[in-house]
Amino acid sequence: MLDKNEMKIAFPSFSSNESFARAAISAFVAQLDPTVDELTDIKTAVSEAVTNCIIHAYRDRIGMIYITVAIDPAGEVTVKIRDKGCGIEDVPKAMEPLFTTGGSERAGLGFAVMQSFMNRVRVRSKPGVGTTVTLKKKIQSRRIGA
């Protein structure tokens, strides 16, 4: 059971917690000795997913955001960002670049950014129940922490 290197954080969807989420995740992933670019890719993708929880999932209330980060000996990072918010009716539509329900200050690029900076992006959502976004990235590591 405990052969997996994994960490979990949970925090309320205050917008001011976004930088905390990025910092916590990059501090954990740092043990894989990623390049600055690899780390920034992950930070950017996580930032997009957390923003989605804050401005879409919990649009008119504060709810909890749950993040799990797992790293495996081969250097693969898996980040799961889960909310118990409103859910997404039409996931393919939500993932289209420039589509947004977030108003004029949102570019509709969250998923496009996740997809361009990570190797895999998976979205599972159920209206009224919540959304889980799973992000995977292989670190071309020089030193595997294990």
Binding site: S15, T51, E105
Partner: protein, 108 residues
């Protein structure tokens, strides 16, 4: 304050300071909008020299200011972008509507 505003004759230069996400983009917008809405400058320069990180909230910030500046036919120029910020701007297509300025040594 995450923004320094520098006023010149017909332009306003906004030096953005710190990471840009949904939270800080809101603060930056609230600092910039009252100033440009009052002055109607011909040019708004968004300077990213002191921005170490930006997610797509930065694109919303750029496009939102562009729309506002268009109300009096002003234009938006992006300055001091890192390679990563430029990548996100490129991904968004926003580079088609704004001008770009090379990294400046002085903000004088």
């Amino acid at each position: 304050m995450p923004v320094h505003l520098i006023y010149r004759e017909e332009s306003v230069r906004a030096e953005l300071i710190g990471e840009i996400d949904d939270y800080t983009a809101r603060q930056m917008r609230e600092a910039i909008d009252p100033a440009i809405s009052r002055l109607h400058p011909k040019k708004l320069i968004l300077d990213f020299s002191a921005v170490p990180f930006m997610d797509s909230s930065g694109i919303g910030l750029i496009i939102g200011r562009y729309k506002l500046m268009r109300l009096w036919e002003g234009e938006v120029t992006l300055s001091g972008m890192s390679r990563r910020i430029e990548m996100i701007v490129k991904l968004s297509g926003a580079e088609k509507i704004v001008r770009k300025e090379r990294r400046e040594q002085h903000a004088g």
